[in-house]
């Protein structure tokens, strides 16, 4: 093969390997399920003319961005759980963003003071319960370890970020000894091994396997709206939902959010997309399409969620929760929660 043909072949390989770069685009790496955010991204492209390329990565998102380093195509990294957001900052994969639009739209408690992460939606950790149970109005997270619930509680794995974040919040409020005692009590109350997903809690309550459990608020909307299919509608309607609080505190919430990647090749478009996601229109879509609580004050919550009653958000700082995530995970091991 002659040299020029070799060069041509190599060029061809490069063309195969590298996606063609359009003029106006933004690359989004996300752990959020594509189906959930696709409507938002399509609306953004329609409004701005900026094409959004996506890759949906679950575990390993931060590792991939870190390995790609300065050559990474990532402009925005989007994820759920405050611990995952802070990890991106801690690993130096995020860059600070100053944007009056973002600062006006997102309350200070839901973003980094230096603009390295922004929450875009919140979800509450609520209780699903048997509809026949009465007097659940003042239910607290602490209550769930009470022996009166013995053999009546269903939960997903204690190692799942939604639960570790709650346990981390408990740690911040009550310290390690009390949290451990609470976890042991909760473990003793389990009706079945911790596992499955939040919706399995609802299904197991409908199946009489347990009386009460914890799940995220948006699943209530997804199930009750019938968007998850007729089976799940039955589960959603077969449970009552209450918003538990910490004793003397509020309801535990977690966030979904995003950072602008440190080496973002399309930084301006990345900021544009973030600003769009914090706009009235996109926040309304978060509420309507995903049944999440918008971060922007004044944007309407979906009626399926307002029906659950007013949400009083617990004031434990998100950063504190993220900082205690690992300790929470180790406690889960220590008490053998998932065993």
């Amino acid at each position: 093969m002659s040299l020029s043909r070799t060069a041509l072949a190599l060029l061809g390989l490069v063309a195969l390997a590298a996606p063609a770069r359009a003029e106006s685009e933004v690359n989004l790496y996300t752990t959020r399920e594509p189906g959930l955010i696709r409507p938002l991204l399509d609306a953004f492209t329609k409004a701005s003319g900026v094409k959004v390329n996506t890759v949906f990565v679950d575990k390993g998102l931060a590792e991939r961005v870190a390995a790609e380093g300065a050559r990474s195509a990532a402009d925005i990294v989007m994820t759920v759980d405050i611990g995952n957001l802070i990890e991106l900052v801690d690993r130096d994969l995020a860059q600070p963003v100053r944007s009056p639009t973002l600062e006006a739209a997102i309350p200070a408690s839901l973003r980094d003071p230096e603009g390295r992460w922004f929450a875009l939606s919140t979800r509450a950790r609520v209780a699903y319960a048997d509809p026949d149970l009465r007097d659940l109005a003042g239910l607290t997270y602490e209550d769930l370890a009470d022996p009166k619930w013995k053999g009546k509680v269903c939960l997903r794995s204690g190692q799942h970020p939604y639960n570790t974040a709650l346990i981390a919040a408990y740690l911040v409020k009550h310290g390690e000894a009390k949290t451990e005692a609470w976890l042991r009590g909760l473990k003793d109350n389990l009706a079945r091994k911790a596992g499955g997903g939040d919706r399995d809690v609802a299904r197991d309550i409908v199946a009489d396997l347990c009386d009460v459990g914890l799940g995220n608020s948006y699943y209530v909307g997804l199930m009750r709206s019938g968007r998850g299919g007729p089976e799940q509608k039955k589960w959603g309607e077969g449970i009552q939902v209450v918003l538990p609080t910490f004793q003397g505190g509020g309801t535990h919430v977690n966030v979904s959010g995003a950072v602008v990647a440190k080496s973002a090749p399309n930084r301006d478009n990345a900021v544009k997309l973030l600003e769009y996601l914090a706009s009235d229109e996109a926040q309304g879509l978060y509420a309507k399409a995903d049944y999440e609580y918008p971060v922007k004050p004044g944007v309407a919550v979906d009626p399926l969620l307002t029906a659950l009653g007013p949400l009083k958000i617990d004031t434990t700082p998100l950063v504190e929760i993220a900082r205690n995530r690992k300790a929470a995970s180790l406690l889960v091991d220590k008490v053998g929660f998932d065993r």
Binding site: R64, D208, G336
Partner: protein, 569 residues
């Protein structure tokens, strides 16, 4: 030995230097070429392992006391029980089914012959989703049972929960047994009739023939199949997590993701790898010194015992059980869900491109893995030597590491390669080079190859082992070089095994999820990632179409598998 080959052999037209009759003696250029290629392959496989080792060493090790006290003991016990259970199920079901279709003739046997392979097309995580829906107290099966027995509420009739260790064992066992069935069946079919007849003439009944003649002879096939099935079970994350079984692999994931200790997770993965290799070595050692090669002449096939009446019905019924549990139940559930969804939402346009992506990456990876697998396996056989056998063992590393951890191990080498190529391009042309590794399809193909190379080397090796050494030696005495012997003697005799391995890898690639999720390029979805996206938001029924397509894409290779693993009469 003659110094010059006879004229008849010279007419074969080989260059003089390849006509050396010294059979078994390696030839310089061939040796060098093979060494280079096999060395590169080993490097490809070892790169992620080495980078995981580096990662593990970077950790402070501060979490190890915690892991040893609270995490490892229970997860080791649970993993041990899971593997023992799955091992028992796959060996009993796989070998029993293989003997049934190989030794007996009854109405429906031909159907069973291929239907028994169908569970191969069902990824374990899809099986778990489908079965939980089917068997849940509010699912169709228990609802029907309650209606039949006149119970009003689920609490009136509490049945065992699938979400348990026994549930997980049965599920994995009945989905994974074809890994044993496939090679064992092929081996029973190739079994020489003389041995079986010798057994019978010495007074052994059908049971004794099976236990004392057929089973010991089939041991390499059973061992190969069971080790593949067990490694699949060990590395499964979807089904175990879903069913609440805390295996070692689940612990590795949790250590990485929740205990925020990638170094610890890498360390655990390497310990697990070492344990797997140890077990494989023990099995090999136990088999050492026994020959399994067939006779040089095509053996006369064992005749099937003809069953009639009730015996035939029992045989058919017994054979249908694994098919129903491993395939029919989950697949028909998916089909019903898919039809429902299509009714409501129609077919997503993306599904076509997702199918094409799936076929493209799985196809490319299969091609590469098969070539490399044959190459690595042929080395020790054709060129001899102990260290070539070591290279062969290296090839199996990827199969013993959980997919996502392997993908994380691949990130640094890929990034380094990209940096190297970019640097070279800048130095030579002054232009930067777009990434050729990370974030491209190449990374995905690479990951699949490393992950599944064990399957292709294993099947190539098993195929080569059945070629009597005398045939290869004869070819060499007749003047063929190692490559000539491979092409003209070994390949024609082993291609069914090689192709069988290739098809298995193809199906495995189509089903692969964790590495695909981490490594695929922007805007690329495969059927598996699509399904995972739906499952992640809990609407996995919306992914029923994709799930069914994964199963369907797996069916064609499965049908082909059966053809190639059936020796011609």
């Amino acid at each position: 030995m003659p110094s010059r080959p006879p004229a008849a052999l010279r007419r074969m037209g080989l260059p003089a230097r390849l006509r050396s009759p010294a059979a078994g003696r390696p030839h310089g250029p061939w040796l060098r070429a093979w060494t280079l290629a096999a060395g590169l392959t080993a490097l490809l496989v070892l790169a992620p392992v080495a980078s995981l080792a580096v990662e593990a060493l970077q950790g402070s090790g501060g979490l190890w006391p915690h892991l040893l006290a609270h995490v490892l003991p229970p997860s080791l016990v649970e993993t041990g029980l899971l593997l023992a259970g799955v091992g028992a199920v796959v060996v009993v079901v796989g070998t029993g089914a293989a003997w049934l279709v190989a030794a007996y003739e009854f109405p429906g046997r031909r159907l069973l012959d291929w239907a028994l392979l169908l569970p191969l097309a069902v990824p374990t995580y899809i099986g778990a989703y489908a079965y939980l829906d089917l068997l849940h107290p509010v699912g169709p099966v228990q609802s029907a049972v309650r209606a039949l027995l006149g119970y009003a509420r689920p609490r009136d009739l509490i049945l065992p929960d699938l979400r348990s260790l026994p549930g997980c064992i049965l599920l994995l066992g009945f989905v994974l047994y074809p890994y044993v069935y496939l090679p064992t069946r092929a081996l029973f079919l190739m079994q020489s009739a003389t041995l079986v007849e010798a057994g019978r003439s010495l007074g052994a009944g059908p049971g004794a023939v099976f236990l004392r003649v057929a089973l010991p002879l089939a041991r390499p096939a059973i061992a190969l199949g069971a080790s593949l099935a067990l490694l699949e079970a060990l590395n499964d994350i979807g089904a175990a997590e879903f069913l609440g079984v805390r295996t070692l692999t689940v612990s590795i994931y949790d250590t990485w993701v929740n205990r925020s200790d990638l170094a610890g997770a890498a360390g655990l993965a390497l310990v697990m790898l070492a344990a797997c290799l140890g077990l494989i070595a023990v099995e090999r050692r136990a088999r050492r010194g026994r020959g399994y090669a067939g006779a040089a002449q095509r053996p006369r096939r064992m005749s099937r015992t003809i069953l009639a009446g009730p015996a035939a019905l029992v045989a058919l019924g017994a054979g249908l059980v694994p098919v129903a549990l491993g395939f029919l139940a989950p697949a028909s559930y998916l089909a019903v869900e898919a039809v429902r969804r299509l009714h409501v939402a129609g077919l997503s346009g993306a599904i076509l491109s997702e199918s094409l992506n799936t076929l493209l990456y799985a196809g490319l990876a299969t091609l590469v893995a098969t070539t490399l697998g044959l190459l690595v396996a042929a080395g020790p056989r054709l060129l001899g030597g102990r260290w070539r056998g070591m290279l062969l063992r290296c090839a199996t590393f990827g199969y013993a590491i959980p997919g996502a951890i392997l993908a994380i191990g691949l990130l640094p080498p890929l990034a380094a390669l990209d940096g190297l190529l970019d640097g070279a391009s800048r130095a030579l042309t002054g232009l930067p080079l777009a990434a050729m590794g990370l974030g491209t399809g190449a990374a995905l193909v690479y990951a699949y190859v490393v992950r599944f190379l064990a399957v292709t080397t294993g099947s190539s090796e098993a195929g080569l082992a059945r070629v009597p050494r005398s045939l290869g030696d004869a070819a060499r005495v007749l003047g063929r070089g190692p490559a000539g012997a491979l092409a003209q003697v070994h390949l024609p005799l082993t291609w069914p095994a090689v192709l069988g391995g290739a098809l298995l890898v193809f199906v495995d690639c189509v089903k692969e999820l964790p590495a695909t999720l981490i490594l695929r390029p922007l805007n690329v979805e495969t059927l598996a990632t699509h399904l995972y996206g739906e499952a992640a938001r809990g609407t996995y029924e919306d992914g029923a179409v994709a799930a069914l397509l994964i199963v369907a894409v797996g069916l064609l290779p499965v049908a082909l598998l059966l053809r190639v693993s059936t020796p011609k009469a």
